[in-house]
Assembly symmetry: C2
Homo-oligomer: 230 residues x 2
């Protein structure tokens, strides 16, 4: 159905991790690292835990949007520099806060039950993926929004790269002769937390409509018939 584009893969800009604490990009694909820190000095690990706890508390209290780094530092009885050394920047801290949910979701994709996990046909998995993403975004929306990286890292943060990679894999199976990298960017754009926030919160679009929109989009992009609606 499409022009036979060479599915040459897009060279991912080599992220220079030289100046980042291992902590910040636990693993490019977050696989294998059973737990967090491989080796942190005792005091560092203790402070890290206290910071996360303090941050979680402040988020629960004032909302993720109102979280300031100084407040976190103060609440953890720690210097501001410590927060930044550990998490790099504000986004890094928020990302760490989301890490648990993130890993759970990734696990569901990699080894959970079909159709989200392996075992179902790729198009079906795409449908399930989008629906799951939308629902997950609907919860956590505040946090996801606050964790939105600045323009530079919007497409290079570890979680985003993983999710995009997942979509690329499924698309390669579903539409082998398309430019799956670009198509994946398009699909992921639909699942952008900022867009979902805009539509659901500012425009009052019900989540159901977003899910239907996703299913329809996947059907169009893959050239398949949309599944019958229940």
């Amino acid at each position: 159905m499409s022009a036979a584009l060479p599915p040459a893969s897009i060279p991912q800009e080599p992220i220079d991790r030289s100046d980042l604490r291992a902590d910040l990009q636990p693993d490019l694909l977050q696989l294998g690292t059973g737990e967090d820190e491989p080796c942190l000095r005792a005091d560092a690990a203790r402070n890290r835990a206290r910071l996360l706890e303090a941050a979680a508390g402040l988020v629960a209290e004032h909302g993720a949007a109102g979280l300031t780094m100084e407040a976190v530092a103060a609440a953890a009885s720690v210097g501001k520099g410590t927060v930044f050394r550990r998490f790099g920047d504000r986004t890094g801290l928020l990302l760490a806060l989301l890490d648990h949910s993130e890993r759970k979701f990734q696990a569901a994709l990699l080894s959970g039950p079909a159709p989200l996990g392996p075992g179902a046909p790729p198009v079906e998995r795409l449908h399930a993926f989008g629906r799951a993403m939308l629902r997950r975004l609907a919860d956590e929306l505040d946090l996801q929004l606050a964790a939105e990286p600045g323009a530079e890292r919007r497409f290079t943060s570890a979680p985003r790269r993983f999710l995009r990679g997942h979509v690329i894999l499924l698309l390669r199976q579903a539409v082998p002769d398309a430019d799956c990298e670009l198509l994946a960017h398009t699909l992921m754009g639909y699942l952008d937390p900022v867009l979902v926030h805009h539509l659901t919160r500012q425009c009052r679009v019900p989540l159901d409509r977003l899910e239907d929109g996703w299913v329809d989009l996947v059907a169009r992009v893959t050239g398949t018939e949309p599944p019958a609606e229940p």
Copy 2:
């Protein structure tokens, strides 16, 4: 080809313009306002011009990314408060800098020659639209990037709304029984300056491939055959 979704339009969040200078959102669709300011006091108009000139100079010198509001104020021999009163915020200033190009593009869409302007079938106009957008982004990329609004306004700035509205109109003609608002968001996502920057600058994807990707995407979304490649 798609489930018959009710094309109920998405209620655009009523932008409260109460606290914004008319200047900032010259017109929701930027139609009709022959020139800029309807009524600015003489000194205000003079300062506005000086600020834009100064800003343009600084951008040419240090790049759009390095533009600071204080520098602009100083270069125009004006107080910092004046810059903010006139343009609202940094983004507003950058947007004003892009205003000329923006209007030209809008004019081309509304009354220029086909297929960009009216007269061609909608799918063909969509193809032309994306290609033109991509090329325009490729120039101006620095400015477009610097003018990227914060997360809140990413989908509500006047230029974006106009362009999205244009796409919605074309989609309504091309695929009347689809959820065109959501589809338009998807298509516009492909034309996001930040994405284009990521792909072209960070991943070294050639512009041609992006254009091919757009054409293919439009074909898939509208369920049409991709046009023959020259």
